[in-house]
Symmetry: C2
Subunit: 279 residues, 2 copies
DNA sequence: TGCAGCGATACCCGAGCGGTATCGATCGGC
DNA sequence: GCCGATCGATACCGCTCGGGTATCGCTGCA
């Protein structure tokens, strides 16, 4: 099996249309048909059911689509990492969601920078749910993730710490003076529908709450009395004057982990992880 | 970057000798040289330093070797899984070390078999340290592993249970009547050096103890008063008459996890994992 | 029934892969 | 210190195979 064949197959499997896929690949349709047929013959298996009106995936095709996507991103990752390793002063790219655990991040960067032979650490601020792709495609070397929100499937991780969550409310809201609340108290406020975050695909779930991309937006909307949110304690530190953070007793605890791609052989990654776990 | 190029590069990087690598690949040396040069040009990076007497890896080459190996095994895995998915009655391959948690395994297989629409489960009995490769190369779909002995880097896992460890001793040994011991008690017995297990590469660490491959061998040697070992409780259940199991207080607890390759989209895997976590 | 849409097939050309022959550099032995 | 052995690079050649155009055959729809 060759990368070219996989790239072609993934394109067809995603488009379910040979013509569209060929266009996307920048080639003509006939060689595409031929390559897919050849791939099927090599594997000894039908991957696509085709009539002249419709293309569908077989069981085997579904499996190969998932595997193929993973392989293709592994290949682009390998290219990027190889090129980065060739730089004279290779740097380490750390992916973090903007607004992630302020103090932890500062400490980590300071502690690592104090190590002898520490590499330069570049911060790659990203949106939620981008981490995986950044690590898998070699654009980042390490990331800070938050369980249970982010998936760590296929990544190596070390747990850094666990914290509770707080509800962020307008300072003037009746609940803001409480010393603690429960999920039910804040999720059922009709005047303050919960903010909605983009899902893995970048789309927003259905609901009445505001569509949010980052903490600044969010805090502004909360201050305006338009929404509310439950977030990890550390993200609710150093709030604006007009906001209040109230611990939510029964919110699931949030674990911050440091994650890196498996088989990473970069010494700098190992060092950074060691420093992080000894903070 | 193409698979062919990667396969060639990995061969050269492992042999550090173009002639040997070409032989291993079944081609002549000149096209190999040319392909490597072309790969280096594509990536814009030297991968190998070569004099006419010696070949060494550059930084970039070291990274690409690790990435390349992972990609190559992902490709063979994809081929195998695709072919397996095409079978009329796809079965599920579960990799377990021979001797692994007897009762748990029985319960798991029974419970899963009772599920409606359960696939056939084939057991693949393997040596310690083989699991990773079996999963990564697509020869197995799921595995039972033991932390902290097995590495789960790059795998998805769910914890099943945690147990203590016991020392296995000849029934006639003075320590055998104790209700509990400490690691120091059993690791320092000059007459019973600890058994040695093969490491990841299949080689044995240095030491005076016997070289062991499986539990039957091991128990026989212990019964003969030649060695001793500390193993998880469940592996020490149902011992021969002439052996005794004594709990080791300060041995690290052993966690049994069920592991599968990330991105596995097999419904049967998801089902088996669900059953396993609800036992 | 005729037409439009779509994948498969036929056929041609050129890039590129693999082979043989050979060169040039380096190290070891006498 | 020179010669030969070793090993990677280069030159050149033939053929496979990847990509292109033209066209066919099937299917759903008006």
């Amino acid at each position: 099996m060759e990368i070219r064949e996989l790239r072609y197959f993934v394109a067809v499997a995603e488009e379910l249309h040979f013509g569209k896929a060929a266009e996307r690949l920048g080639i003509a349709q006939p060689p595409l048909s031929r390559t897919i047929t050849q791939l099927e013959r090599r594997l000894g298996t039908a991957l696509l059911e085709r009539t002249s009106r419709k293309v569908t995936l077989t069981e085997a095709g579904t499996v190969l689509l998932a595997e193929g996507r993973a392989i293709l991103s592994a290949v682009t990752a390998a290219e990027r990492r190889t090129q980065r390793a060739a730089k004279a002063h290779p740097s380490l790219v750390l992916a973090v969601k903007s607004g992630t655990g302020g103090e932890l991040l500062t400490k980590l960067l300071d502690a690592y920078a104090a190590e002898p032979g520490a590499a330069t650490v570049d911060l790659l601020l990203c949106e939620a749910h981008q981490h995986r792709q950044l690590l898998q495609e070699g654009q980042a070397d390490v990331a800070l993730l938050h369980l249970p929100f982010d998936s760590v499937a296929g990544l190596d991780t070390e747990t850094l710490y666990t914290e509770g969550q707080v509800a962020i409310l307008p300072a003037s809201h009746p609940l803001a003076i409480r010393s603690q609340v429960r999920m039910a108290d804040v999720t059922t406020l009709p005047e303050l529908p919960m903010a909605r975050w983009p899902g893995p695909g970048g789309g927003y779930p259905e609901g009445p709450g505001a569509e949010i991309r980052n903490l600044t937006q969010l805090f502004q909307l909360i201050a305006l009395g338009r929404t509310t949110v439950v977030i990890p304690e550390s993200a609710g530190a150093d709030l604006r004057r007009d906001l209040a953070a109230v611990p939510v007793l029964d919110a699931p605890p949030v674990t911050t982990v440091i994650a890196w791609p498996p088989h990473s052989r970069l010494r700098a990654v190992a060092e950074l992880v060691r420093v992080a776990t000894h903070l």
